[in-house]
Symmetry: D2
Subunit: 351 residues, 4 copies
């Protein structure tokens, strides 16, 4: 039996590189050989035990690779093609998928998120892709691995914050937190036509990157009160759309406080602990507010569109890859990433 | 100076009938002589001091009447016409109104709600209507006062819960609480094509009325656990849309727990105290949930549509008028209504 | 090799019953034994040579049956289950399907319409179902074949005319032509909350059926000018939504003339010959008109919802089955149906 | 009586400068002194007698100016403020306006278009603005007349082609014709996130300007067949959205032929003569096509948003002003503009 290296969750606090059998593609599945992958903030939640996965699970959900084997019934592809696969892998054929709720595939909350959660993930030499017909998307010629590495999750999630917030041309938008997801939400807000984009974080490198990606105003909340500043910038009107990109009480609440009556809070964060609704900012339920949560949209059509955006040069996310490690060094990579050392945004991992 | 009787908020616990001057219609305004009005749950909040209005304010926001006087610039109407006016009176001409946020007129939260809140209201012999061109709607021949009495608030609010919940043909919907607003949400869910409508309350008379208005399943939560029953009825799938019609932690939370992943919580209640988000039911923010709050849609176009619905016989809300009082007896009416005695749903008040 | 009877298109003017081999379910496919099917207006277009299909093709796209055989990879079903399948059979996994354009599966116009068009259809003893995982929907207990016979096409198409027309509570709607599709559009308009539904046809039986299904006003265009009457009924305002359910210049044009500025023409008909846009009614392109065409929505989620509507009793389409024939008599059935004899609406065909 | 100069339509072929009385602001109205205005393609239709207005009407609907006088009831503004007013001047208070159909104000087709059509227009020294509360928008400090001159019509109309086409991030879009409206549609498509923007025209200067404003591919249809090229660029898939910006059979039809099944034709042109629907490209009505027409959105909220876009530097439309004339020279300006001499795009006219 051939084996491969894989980054495996062992117990809270411990992800380690192990040898595992290379899987075989069953009906409807594909095996891809990973050429580049990366670590996500969610993986850190898993590492810390804040998001539970079973011991022995290979982690990671952001794959770039090459088709190694196609299972029965997988047609229209050939071995050797370069592909990406979204972090979320909808079947396309269940009731929720057919109803447009692909991230909730199967009708279980977040059911479309399988990689590194309910099945083995991409931080390994090989990855078994379920529902391959819905999920394998061929990389257009001329795009490098690193150029498309943000598509499976970061870009898809961040953009969806702007899309599902319903941003319109001429809107004022604030994005709270400028980690990789928040940065992509900023880029997405620009792509959707917002004419004033305000971002809030405390890390200078992130605020700088935000400005490169489309932010007009970058607020360091350790120095300036964001809400006072937002109200000043909008003449007391509030923003049309507020995007939450962290998952804390403070950012959620600040979003609600920054909104105009009738505004939309587009929430991307993964919340833990407690979350309460500030009733004053919520206008006791009379403010015509919308709160929209979105899990990363997946599926090959989404990947096709996002790679089109990359290919067109509309956004350039390459600078977000700040570090590069070999798969063998992944424990080091986690150490760096989990502690946000050295201005890290995203780490390209290559087997 | 001519005077009139008006029900006036004096202090928490005290609404009393007083004599007040009859107002005069300024530019853009109209004066209507009230022929029928009613008491709303929100008025009870005001009575109890849970929702602050200034002392001396005439209460009430559900007017049916006759045009008595038209101010300068109000054209297309004539004195003596029977009209209704929505509880919410948008100007139609400010930035938020022109952007479709008419209930948030002026850009202040709930800014379109003026009657019995920021200006004198309808529990009086006469009512001054601001922005008359946007708000006076002539009652079609053949409709009685009581037939259109629900349009200004109860029906508009209740229906909006179904509309903004995005109910589609074939949806399963639950409505928590079956007071007048909840009952109209039930009727609205039926009108929008829901094929399974579940309602939850504890009052038998309200559950019975709900069945008349379109509920398929009426759950008395004191006898049956609603969530267990909802999951049984939907084969564990959850509902597509959950409508909150009370404004409490329990009903809000139950809505979220009843929802399918990807479902919509349509919130109508006025919340007080605290409101927290149950993170498990909220799927930590990964469930593609939508939470939509709606304040009663107003304006004459809305009134026209709602009276069309009444005229067509699509719904019959007349049975919701369970009691009738003269304006002189309004203190008694408040006493009955605030304590929900005698199966009261709505009380028609006539000067 | 086992054989079966099948109604086969031979040449324009000739559909005949022939013996064909019973197919076998390949990977992802299912074989169902037809228990009831029916003839559609589109089949008559095929018979007349107005819509081209290849000689030898089994006709029909409205199947009710029993699972006979499941191909490899088809899970969650078992042989013997009663099922329906939509006329349109999306794969769920191609780019257009994942983007919500399931009727345009594969990216070819009307690509999701396979049965009796690009593959063999349902007017036979057995039917091979492609993409079975996306398309087989189990019939709820207690519903008869005839009760669900309208779901695969007539009800799905007719309702979509109301749905995609964006009908709102309180709208005025006109439906031109009250064949089976138009009748279901009428029922759909009622389900969506229209408060005034006007229908136009010339056949008294169809106008009567329309009134049973929700029409408020039925206009026989041979006796009354529909446009004059519509403008009278709407005080010159025009309708909010006009549904075209035939596919002719006259009905298309009348829809446009009946619309208010800003209104929506929801088109269901299959057009042949020529179609021109009346520029006066089209306001030279300045009327904020929407023209929306819809091909029958398919897939198992759609079938589930439609059967829910039937099960709830919200509409009763059983009276639309006016005639019953055995499969052996299908040539007679075509003769009756194509010539609209004897008040025929839909014919149940049983093998 | 004070008089002013005004460009007046006399008869087909003749617009002349005349002296007219300066109007006075009645209730709800405002008088503005024009500082800059411009000529629109629609004005040329009027000049040629292709669009009928009454003799003696002052032409023009694109005003930039200064408040000179405020009528009774117009509050929140002061004399001397610099303002723009949209080409379309909704009242905000009629049924269609309150329902969101502001361009169809009053319920007559294109009823919101008053300036230079049903009331006197902006090619004059002074302009009377109806419904001033809905329509006057103050110009932000720092923006010049020419910077905001495109907002009242060209930019509002062009952007609406992109907005109402429903362009999403990653879409492929084609715009047929690159006059001023088409150029703004191109800029709008970029703002909405299209990742491949194809434009078609024959004038090199317009194609060059299109590339400055966001076009990726500019096709000169006299040299290259646009449909062949579009299908090549999209791998036979067709475009997601096609924008018609001229108003001819050829451009309308090309849009439909360029579309993918399920695509949207967003129509901005003013059609004259005949318009027929190519049934093959229309898939006989089975292609899930949408055809959306849009008249220039107006009102002060729209103007606010568009000026925000200008102020943010997201688009730079200043280069579209290719010529400058004094009001006294307006007949010359018409001569140049109507014959598209000298690479003219827009002419700034100053009294």
């Amino acid at each position: 039996m051939r084996t491969m290296k894989a980054a495996v969750f062992l117990r809270p606090g411990k992800i380690a590189l192990e040898e595992k059998p290379i899987p075989t593609a069953g009906p409807g599945e594909a095996l891809i050989r990973i050429t580049t992958t990366t670590i996500c903030g969610t993986d850190v939640h898993i590492l810390k035990g804040e998001f539970a996965v079973e011991a022995g699970r290979t982690i990671g959900h952001e794959p770039v690779g090459v088709i190694e084997e196609l299972g029965a019934g997988v047609t229209g592809y050939s071995v050797g093609q370069r592909v990406i696969v979204g972090a979320i892998t909808p079947c396309g054929q269940c009731h929720p998928c057919l109803d447009g709720h692909q991230a909730q595939c199967g009708g279980k909350a977040a059911g479309g998120w399988r990689f590194g959660n309910t099945i083995d993930g991409s931080q390994a030499e090989y990855l078994l892709v379920p529902h391959a017909m819905s999920n394998l998307e061929i990389i257009p010629d001329g795009l490098s691995d690193e150029e498309v590495l943000m598509c499976p999750d970061i870009m898809s999630t961040g953009f969806s914050g702007a899309e599902n917030g319903g941003i319109r041309i001429g809107d004022t938008v604030v994005i709270f937190a400028q980690g990789p997801i928040g940065l992509c939400a900023t880029a997405g807000a620009k792509l959707k036509g917002a004419s004033l984009i305000i971002v809030v974080d405390s890390a200078a490198t992130r605020l700088d990157m935000a400005k490169r990606l489309g932010a007009d105003i970058a607020i360091d909340y350790t120095k300036t009160d964001p809400l006072t500043e937002i109200m000043r910038l909008t003449n007391g009107r509030g923003v049309d759309v507020a995007i939450e990109a962290l998952g804390t009480q403070q950012t959620f609440e600040s979003c609600l406080r920054a909104l105009k009556p009738g505004g939309t809070l587009s929430s991307l964060g993964v919340y833990s602990g407690k979350l309460s609704m500030p009733l004053d900012a919520f206008a006791a339920g009379l403010g015509d507010h919308k709160i929209i949560t979105t899990l990363c949209p997946g599926g090959k059509e989404r990947m096709r569109r996002l790679m089109n955006v990359v290919a067109s040069g509309r956004v350039d996310l390459k600078p977000m890859v700040t570090h590069r490690f070999k798969l063998e060094q992944i424990e080091q990579a986690y150490e760096l990433f989990a502690n946000q050392r050295d201005g890290v945004l995203k780490i390209a991992i290559t087997p």
